[in-house]
């Protein structure tokens, strides 16, 4: 199936968003570009499955995420890293034009579990609704909401912007527990 000119343009227009997501997921620009390329190839060979009028971006992000996770699972088996500490050590290579200001943020972002990171990226950066993000990640809307919330709390703690409400036992509770 040949992509029509407008569809070709739409695919091209989706590339920056796909790259940003892939770089933020994988932590490596080279790997991210391979991921985007595979996503475009996969999309082109499955164009007949895409329903016109539905969200092309969400469809492409779903493909990219699936590819990332199947690749990631493979790599995890290869290097025997069941707890994902290898992924935690991955860092985004500074790109041309990138500022050091974001270095702390990136480091913190990559300390998040990958399911929380991707949920936060989809909702907080890529502009998807909770419903769209749930569909992209094949999970319930409530799961996405909870992942995003946990991701924000963890980031705030890592970046020391945490004014998280302290829900530790207050004095009244302590007094009650002591009888």
């Amino acid at each position: 199936m040949t992509p029509e000119p407008d569809l070709r343009e739409a695919l091209l227009a989706a590339v920056p968003g796909l790259r940003a997501f892939a770089i933020s997921l994988s932590g490596q620009v080279d790997k991210a570009d391979d991921l985007v390329q595979d996503t475009l190839l996969r999309a082109l060979s499955n164009l007949h499955r895409f329903e016109r009028g539905t969200n092309l971006n969400a469809w492409l992000f779903t493909i990219l995420r699936n590819l990332f996770h199947s690749e990631y699972r493979k790599r995890r088996r290869e290097i025997e890293d069941p707890d994902g500490s290898y992924a935690g050590r991955l860092k985004v290579q500074p790109e041309q034009g990138s500022h050091l200001d974001f270095e702390d943020f990136r480091t913190a972002l990559f300390q998040l579990p990958s399911d929380q990171r991707e949920a936060l990226l989809l909702v907080g950066a890529s502009g998807f609704s909770y419903e769209e993000a749930a569909s992209i990640c094949h999970c319930a809307v409530g799961t996405i909401k909870s992942r995003v919330n946990r991701a924000r709390i963890r980031l705030a703690a890592l970046l020391n912007v945490d004014d998280v409400d302290d829900l530790g036992p207050d004095s009244m509770t302590r007094a009650a527990l002591q009888g």
Binding site: A125, P169, A175
Partner: protein, 71 residues
């Protein structure tokens, strides 16, 4: 005497939302949430503004031609 006091507090206890599962219901205040969101979008915008590598444009062009030839 002291026993009565303890009972009163015990009855009041279930009304306090934070007496178990410490921290699991923690929510960020809106200021922190905004700061996290701003930093995330700033980092992301920078990635979005990077020029699209030629390989993707070429890929779509090549596929156009290949498909025309083969199918």
């Amino acid at each position: 005497m002291t026993g009565d006091k303890g009972n009163k507090l015990a009855r009041a206890l279930p009304r306090t939302p934070s007496n178990d599962k410490l921290g699991t219901k923690a929510k960020l205040d809106s200021g922190s949430q905004k700061r996290i969101g701003d930093q995330l979008r700033a980092m992301y915008d920078e990635l979005m503004q990077q020029p699209v590598p030629d390989r993707f444009r070429e890929l779509l062009d090549q596929l156009d031609r290949k498909k025309e030839g083969s199918q």
